[in-house]
């Protein structure tokens, strides 16, 4: 087992773990890894859920355990923190860029759920409209572009 931990290196490894529901984003991009600590011989990773009912959390915790085990850590503890509550403010700029390229409009701090005006991630028109506040996962809402006519997901500001 590594005797000292370099957080930066560990974060780089955790960057390999993707959100199973939005596979373009890593758990680091999403901001759900809150801290990594070494308590004596136990490595503790503190994570937080995006939405309370997010079904990906168990898979993510397992993926972290597997990743750290392959790095040689023997004692691993994964703690889920509730407070402070997760917010899309913790999403990295890199993550927002990746979302846009993937075809999901990234969260926009100026508004939570606008009726219109969310930039279409495909043709970049702002001439769009809200179809439903609830989309394919808890964290997304459904929009349609009035210009290119494509429906798209918007990652809700939370």
């Amino acid at each position: 087992m590594p005797s000292t931990i370099d957080k930066k290196v560990l974060y780089a490894y955790l960057e390999e773990i993707k959100d199973p529901e939005v596979p373009v984003l890593s758990i680091i991009d999403l901001g759900i890894v809150r801290d990594i600590k070494m308590n004596d011989d136990e490595l503790e990773v503190i994570i937080t859920s995006t939405y309370n009912g997010c079904p990906a959390m168990d898979m993510i915790a397992t993926a972290i355990r597997v990743e750290l085990t392959t790095l040689g850590f023997k004692k691993i503890k994964i703690t889920t923190a509730i407070s402070p509550a997760w917010t899309t403010d913790w999403m990295s700029e890199e993550g927002k860029r990746k979302l846009q390229q993937y075809g999901i409009a990234p969260p926009d701090k100026r508004f939570s759920i606008p009726k219109d005006g969310v930039e279409c991630p495909l043709c970049h028109s702002a001439n769009t409209r809200l179809i439903s506040e609830f989309g394919s996962t808890a964290c997304k809402a459904l929009y349609q572009c009035n210009d290119c006519k494509e429906p798209f997901d918007y990652f809700k500001c939370h």
């Binding site: 309370n52 509730i82 609830f134």
Partner: protein, 271 residues
Amino acid sequence: MPDMVSSNKKTFEKSPLISYVLHLADTNLILSQRNSEWCGHGPILEQDIAITNISLDLLGQARIFYQYAAHLTPSPSPQGGEGSNPVTEDSLAYLRKEREFKNLLLVEQPNGDWGQTILRQYLYSQFQYLLYEQLQQGDDEQLAAIAAKSIKETTYHVRWSSEWVIRLGDGTEESHDRMLKAIDEIWRYTGEMFIPAVYEKQIGIDFNKMKEDWDVKVNAVFNEASLIPPSGGGAAVFMQTGGKTGTHTEHLGYILTELQYVQRAYPGAKW
């Protein structure tokens, strides 16, 4: 070891905080179960997705309340024997009986038509929003943390359901009539939200303030929806109570029969 079992039960019943946390967990679980009955049956695809998303949020909230209740419950003696299984979020959800459930009567009522489901969701979400507002300022750190995280989700539920109440109440003659019928069916279960059970008296919630704020919000939405709450004229309306202390309407037994079936038929079965 019958002695141990009964003494565990005493501790369990006597802790107002555990009872209160279970009340919150049960209410979210049962409404989640009810809403999930719409899965694949919503009026249009987007709304089917919306109601099941809300169902998932409520299930997530129920889970963290059950986890907290399990954490608060004293561990059984390590000697083993009957009653020595640890209390977990799953045992609390799957292995308690109808009379042990403390959910609000409102959330166990049948879905009825889409209008009745919407109305139930709105009346509850509006209450839940005000409750979380108070809980996040409260003395219990864990409840405050859960409330602060959950209120973000409840904000969506209030907005979505209130828009639907307005759309249906102020829609066609048919939709308006159905909303009136829905009010008739479920209004009598709303009073219970504001009548504290014994275990709620030390939690530090101002029920009177919550009731006043709820009335103002609901009246505003009803007004926009061309609907009149039964208490609008100031007349006293009979309110059914009992859910918080385990006396339920006939519906809860059927819900639990379905929800708990697998664990009852195959004890300890894992996914």
